[in-house]
C-alpha cells in the first residue's frame, strides 16, 4: 500500500465522530487528537504533505492501541486498522523515531516471535533486578521493568509494569496428531502461537482436548512458525509479509476443514491475509483461501457444538472481549453462548467489556502509563462484577489482566474461554 491508497481509505471518513466514544485513549484523555477521527486527520495531513511527520504526530499515533474499537463503531466502514498500520510503517521508514527506541522495540518483537528466545529472555529477566514495584501494600506483587530498559522502550520515565507470566516457562509442544473422541466429524489444523506456546501451553493442550471432544481430528505439525501478527500490528509490514508467506508455505499441502486459532491477535491477522498479501501475485489466492478457513476456536465450537459432552462448571464468570476478537473479527456472541451453555455457570455482564485492557501487543511496554490506566479501569470493572473467573480469548489480555488483578490483591481467576470449557467437560454419563 502506498500513501495515496491510504489517503483514499482515510477519505472515507466523513468526520461524523461516532468513533470517538469507542476509543479508549479519547475516553481517558478527552483530547480529540487522540481519537480515531483526530488521528485520521493527523495521518491524512502528514500523508498529503499538509504537515510534516513530526515527533508530535508520531506521539499521537504511538498512543493508538490499534484495538480497532473505532471500526466497530464506524458506520462508514473506514478501515482504520489498515490506515494506521500503513502509517506506522511510514513512521519507521522516515526515521522519525530515535534509533535506540526503534531497535529496542524491534528486539522485543523479535524475541516474542521466536519462542525459544522469548522463553529464555523471560527466564533471564527474572534474574535482573526489578524496579521499585510500585508503592504501598501491593509493592511486591507488581514487578516492574528495570527503569533503563523501560525508558529505552517507551521514551518516558513512567514505570513499566511487567505482564504476568507463569512460574515456569518453556517452549511447549503439542502432538502432531490427536484423534477425535467419539464420532469423528471434522479435521482441523490448529496454531500453537509464538506467545501462547511459551506462556500458555496449558491452554493449547486444553484447546486440543476440547476440540477432540467436539469430534475433531486435531493436526498440529511442528512446521508452522509466526503468523506475522506482531509485525503487522507494529507497522513492520515487510517482515510481517515474510512471516505470512512462510506460514502459507507450511500449510500449502495440508488438508483440513478449518484452521482453528485460540489467540485473537493471530486469528485477526490470518483472516486478513487475503488483503495483506493482495499485492503479491505468487500467493494472493492462497492467502485468501487460508483466510477463509481461519476460525477463532470459540466461534468454531459455538457453531459445531459439543453434542456428546456434558459441561458443568459451577461458578460466576464474566467475559472480557479481546479487541482482536470483538473488533478485529466481530466475534462477541459465540464465546458468551459457549459459556452460557455450561451447567452451573452464571455469566455476569462486564461493564465496558469491549474496551481495551491496555495490553495491545507490545503497547504495555511502549506506552506504560496509558496501558496502566486502562488496566486499572479494566480491573476495577472486573472486580465490580463479583465474578470468580474472568474469561477471554487472547494471551496478551490474559497476561496483562492477570497482572492487574494480582496487583490489586484480587483472587479472580483469569482463564481462556477454552480452559473453562476444558474444566467443564465431564465424562459422559455411563449408559445402561
Amino acid at each position: 500500500m502506498d500513501d495515496s491508497r491510504a489517503v483514499a481509505l482515510a477519505r472515507k471518513c466523513v468526520r461524523c465522530g461516532f468513533c470517538m466514544d469507542a476509543c479508549p485513549t479519547y475516553r481517558l484523555t478527552g483530547v480529540e487528537t487522540l481519537s480515531p477521527r483526530g488521528r485520521i486527520r493527523l495521518m491524512t495531513s502528514a500523508m498529503t504533505g499538509e504537515a510534516d511527520i513530526s515527533a508530535d504526530i508520531v506521539g499521537g499515533i504511538d498512543l493508538c492501541l490499534g484495538c480497532r474499537a473505532c471500526e466497530t463503531a464506524c458506520p462508514s466502514g473506514v478501515q482504520y486498522g489498515r490506515i494506521v498500520e500503513h502509517f506506522r510503517n511510514r513512521i519507521e521508514e522516515t526515521g522519525a523515531r530515535r534509533k535506540l527506541q526503534r531497535d529496542a522495540k524491534q528486539g522485543i518483537i523479535g524475541a516474542m516471535r521466536s519462542p525459544r528466545l522469548f522463553a529464555a529472555s523471560l527466564m533471564a529477566s527474572r534474574a535482573l533486578p526489578m524496579g521499585a514495584g510500585g508503592s504501598g501494600e501491593h509493592a511486591s506483587r507488581a514487578p516492574e521493568m528495570p527503569p533503563l530498559v523501560a525508558h529505552t522502550l517507551s521514551g518516558s520515565d513512567a514505570a513499566t509494569l511487567m505482564p504476568d507470566a507463569p512460574e515456569t516457562v518453556g517452549v511447549g509442544s503439542i502432538p502432531a496428531f490427536s484423534p477425535a473422541i467419539g464420532k469423528r466429524r471434522f479435521r482441523v489444523r490448529i496454531l500453537q502461537g509464538c506467545v501462547m506456546r511459551v506462556l500458555y501451553h496449558q491452554t493449547n493442550l486444553a484447546t486440543v482436548r476440547v476440540l477432540q471432544h467436539a469430534g475433531c481430528d486435531v493436526l498440529c505439525p511442528p512446521d508452522l512458525g509466526c503468523c506475522g501478527a506482531l509485525d503487522f500490528h507494529a507497522g513492520n509490514h515487510a517482515s510481517g509479509v515474510s512471516s505470512a508467506r512462510a506460514a502459507l508455505r507450511a500449510l500449502r499441502h495440508a488438508d483440513f476443514d478449518a484452521f482453528v486459532i485460540n489467540s485473537a491477535g493471530c486469528g485477526s491477522t490470518i483472516r486478513e491475509y487475503g488483503v495483506l498479501l493482495e499485492d503479491d501475485p505468487t500467493c494472493a489466492a492462497e492467502a485468501k483461501a487460508l483466510a477463509s478457513k481461519a476460525r477463532d476456536v470459540s466461534e468454531f465450537l459455538a457453531d459445531v457444538g459439543l453434542p456428546d459432552v456434558r459441561l458443568s462448571f459451577p461458578a460466576v464468570v464474566t467475559y472480557h472481549d479481546a479487541c482482536h476478537l470483538a473488533h478485529g473479527q466481530g466475534i462477541t456472541d459465540p464465546p458468551r453462548r459457549l459459556l452460557e451453555s455450561i451447567e452451573g455457570l452464571k455469566l455476569v455482564p462486564l461493564r465496558e467489556s469491549d474496551m481495551c485492557c491496555g495490553s495491545a501487543g507490545t503497547y504495555n511496554l511502549t506506552q506504560p502509563d496509558m496501558a496502566r490506566r486502562l488496566l486499572d479501569r479494566k480491573v476495577s470493572n472486573i472486580i465490580e462484577t463479583g465474578a470468580q473467573v474472568v474469561a477471554m480469548g487472547n494471551p496478551g489480555c490474559m497476561a496483562w489482566i492477570a497482572r492487574g488483578l494480582k496487583a490489586a490483591g484480587s483472587s479472580i481467576r483469569v482463564m481462556h474461554t477454552i480452559e473453562v470449557l476444558n474444566e467443564a467437560i465431564m465424562r459422559p454419563e455411563p449408559t445402561g
Partner: protein, 904 residues
Amino acid sequence: MHLSMPTPGTAIQQCVLELRACLGDDAVLTRLSDLLAYDGDAYPMARQLPAAVALPATTEQVAAMVRICAKLNVPFVPRGAGTGLSGGATAVPGGLVISLARMNRILEVDIPNRRVIAEAGCTNQAISDAVASHGLHYAPDPSSQGVCTIGGNVAENAGGPHTLKYGVTVNHVTGLTLVTPEGDVIRLGGYPEEPLGLDLVGVTVGSEGTFGIVTEAIVRLTPTPAAYRTLLAVFDDVAACTRAVVEVIAAGVVPCALEMIDRTILGAIEDAFGFGFPREAAAVLTIELDGPEVGLDEDAEVVRGVCLASGAREVRVARDAADRARLWIARKKGVGTAGRLASSIVTQDGAIPRSKLPSVLAEIARIAERHRIRVCNIFHAGDGNLHPCVLYDQNDPDEAGRVHRFNEEVLALCVAVGGTVSGEHGVGLEKRDAMRLMFNPDDLEWMSRVKTAFDPRGLCNPGKLLPDVGKGDSMEGPGTNDETQSEPPATSCPLRGSATSSPARVGQADPAAFAICGEPPEGVVSPLSEADCCDAVRDAARHRVGLVPWGSGTFMHLGGPVRGPWRVVLTSGLFQLGPVSPEDSLVTCEAGCTLAALQEALAVHRHWVPIDAPEPHTTTTGGIVAANISGLLRSSMGPPRDHVVALLAVTDQGQAVKAGARVVKNAAGYDMARLMAGSMGVVGIISEVTLRTRPLPPARTTLTYRGRGQSRICEAAWTLHESRLPFEHLAAQLTGSEGCISVGLAGNATLVAWLHEQVAAAMSRAGLELDHDGCPTDALRRSANGLDADCAARVCGAPDDTFRIVRRTLPDGTQWTWLVSCGLAVASAAEGSADALAAMLCDASRIPPGERVWFDWLRLPNSRWHNDRASRAWAIPSHGSASLMRRVRAMYDSQGVFSPGRQP
C-alpha cells in the same frame, strides 16, 4: 497547502500563558498536531484552526478561563464532541476552543425525582445508561447519542427520532449551570419543571453556545415504555411513502417515531450491516409505537392498514428486541453509512409542514438533478424534518460549489412552503444567511437582543447563528421574498396577519373594570389588528405610560401591581382564527381567540391542543401563552410553552415581529416564542400564536376517588405516579381530613379499559372509593390555578420533593391541589387562614435541601404579607439569574412600556 500555526497575536499568547498557569500544561493545547483535530466539526464545508484548545475539568476552571478571555478580549468557542452538523463548533480565527470533554461526570442521579445532574461533556447515552436499571431513560435520542454530549445537545436543542412523541431537548432540561461570557457562574432553573420568571433555560437551550458555556445540566428522566411495536413499511414509490406519513398521523395514532429511508441509503445500510432489508424498495418507513403492552397491537394494526392502503408493498413487524435493535441501528447509523457512497456528505435539515412532504421531496429531486448532485434521504418524516443527505467530494471545488447552490435552493424551498431552515441541527455557520429567508431585519434585530443581553461584548462563539447585520443589501424579508416565488405559499401568510391599520378604540371600556391590585388603568386600548397594537405601543412610549396586555383578565392577579400610569391593551378584538391544519398538526389564531373557540374548530377535524386552562370560554390563547397557564394536562402534556411553535409580537419600538415558524420542529435561531411564553407581557405584546395540535384520543375517561386522611390520599396518588402508567392527568386534592384523586385515561379503547382496571385495583388496595361526583375536573383546574381561594401560592418542585411537602400536616382551613407527576402543587386558604398558610409555606420551603423548590406565584387578599414575611422565604433564588433576567427585560423594553413594575 502546507499548514502552519496561526500567527499568534499577543493577546492569545498572553491568554495561553495565563491559561497554563490556571489549568496546568496538559490542559492547554497549542501544537499544530494537536490543533488539527479541532479544525471543525461534522459539518464538512467550514474549517478553521483555533489558536489554542483548553480542556477544563471543573466549572470553576471554565469560569477562570472565560475571565481571562474576557480580560484579554480573546473570542472563545465551546465544544462538546464535535458532532454538530451546522458548523456551530467551528473555531474563530485567533480564538480559543474550550472543550468540555473532560467534564463528563454524572454528578447526581435522583430516581424518585426523576432527575440527573450531568456535566456538559457527559454523553447523551451515558445518562440513559446510568438510569436504565431503574426503568428510566433520557428521551431525546439524536443518532449520535453514543458520542454527542449533553452540553452539545443543550446548545443545539438536539432532537432525534423519538422526539415525535417525547419532544426535543428543551422539553427535558430543567436546569443549567452557565458560565456567562463575563466569567460569572449562574444557575438557570433547577429541579422544578416550571421556571421562575422568564424561561431563561428554555431560551438558552438551542442558543448554539453563544450565551456562555453550559457546564452542567439538570435533565428530566422519562419512564422507559413497557413495550414497543416497530414496523417497517416497504414502498415501491416515494410519493406513496410520503402520503403514508401524512395518513398515519391523520389516523389518530401517535407513533413515538416515524422515519423514512430511501433506496440509496438502504443500499448503503445493507452493505454495512447486511440486515436483509429490501434494498430494491424505493423507500421504507420505520414506525414505532410504544406504551403498555395492552392495546399496542390494535394501534399497530391501524398503522399497518393505513400503510397498505397508502400503497405499501408489505409491512413487517419486528419480532423481538434484536429485530427492533437492527431497525434502529439501520436508522441511527444510516447517515454514517453514506460515507460508503462518497467522500464527503453534508446533511440538510429543513423542516416543513408534514402535508407538503410529497411535493417537496419531488422538488428536491428535481433541484438535485438540475445541479447534478447525488442526494439521498433518511429523515424524521413524522415531524416533517427533512435530512436530504448530499453525496459529494469536498476536494472538487466545482462540485462543492454546486452543492452550495443546491443547499440554498432547498432551504428557500422549505421556507417557501412555510417551513424552517433548520429542524434540529441548528443554524451555526451553515445557515446564517438562510436566516434572512425566514426573518426580516426587524425580526432578526429583535432576536439578536437576547444575545446582547447574555453576551454584551460578543466574545462567546461569535459569528454563529445570526447573519451579519448590514451585509450588503440582501436583507430581504419574507414579504419581498414571496413576490419572487412563482407560487405564493398560502401557509406563510398567517404569520403575517392583516397589515391594514384600523383606528384602535380608545377609552370605550370602563377603566375601573380593569384594576390590578386595586389600581385602575388610565385608559383601555382595544386594537383590532396587529398594526393597532403597534400604534398603541408607540403612543404609550410617547406619553410615557405603561401598557398591560389583557386577554380575559382571568390571571391578572399574577405578576403584582403596575408602577406608574398605565393603559390596558385589550386583545379581545383580535379574535380571528387562522388556518386550522390538522394534517400538519398546527393551528393559528389571534391572541384574543378563546381556548374554547380554538378547540371547537379543531374538534371538527378530531384534533385538539393539549391545553386545558380553566375558564376556556373566556380565557384567551394569547393570555394562556403569555402567562403559561395550564390545567390538569400539565403533567402529561407539558405547559403551553411546549406547544407554541410560532407567534407574532409587537416590540417596544412598536414594530411587528415574528418568532418561530409554522412547523412542529424548529431550531432556526433563538427560541423567541419560548422567551415570550410565560413572560407576562414584559417582553412584548403577543398578537398571534401558532400551536401544535394532536389527534383526539379515540377513548377517554376520568376516574375520581375519594377517601379520608391526608396521608392516605398522598400515598395513593404517589403509588399511581410510581406505577408509571401513561395517565392523561393525575391530580389530588388534599385537606386535613379528606381528599380526592382524579385520574384521566386516554388512548384506544383496549388501553383505557385496562388502565381503568389497574387504577381501580390500586385505589381499592389504598382504601379509596370511586366517587363520580366528587372532585369535578373543572373545579380542580380552577384550584390548581388558585382561582377560588382568597389566598393561594404555587409550589414548583420535582415530583418527589413536592410529594414530601404536600404530605406534611395541613393547618385547618388550608388545602393542597397537587399535580403529582410534574411536581406542581397549589396551596390555598380563605382569608382567615392566610397566616396559617404563610407559616406552612415558609416551613415547606425548607423541606428539600437547597433551592430545589420555589414558589412561583401568590394570590393574596392584600399585599401585606406579600411584601414582608413571605417574600423573604420565597424570593427569587439568589443564584444570579435575577440580574440576567433584568438585563433581558431591559433589552426588550428600552422605553419601560411593558407592564412596568410587574413580575413575569
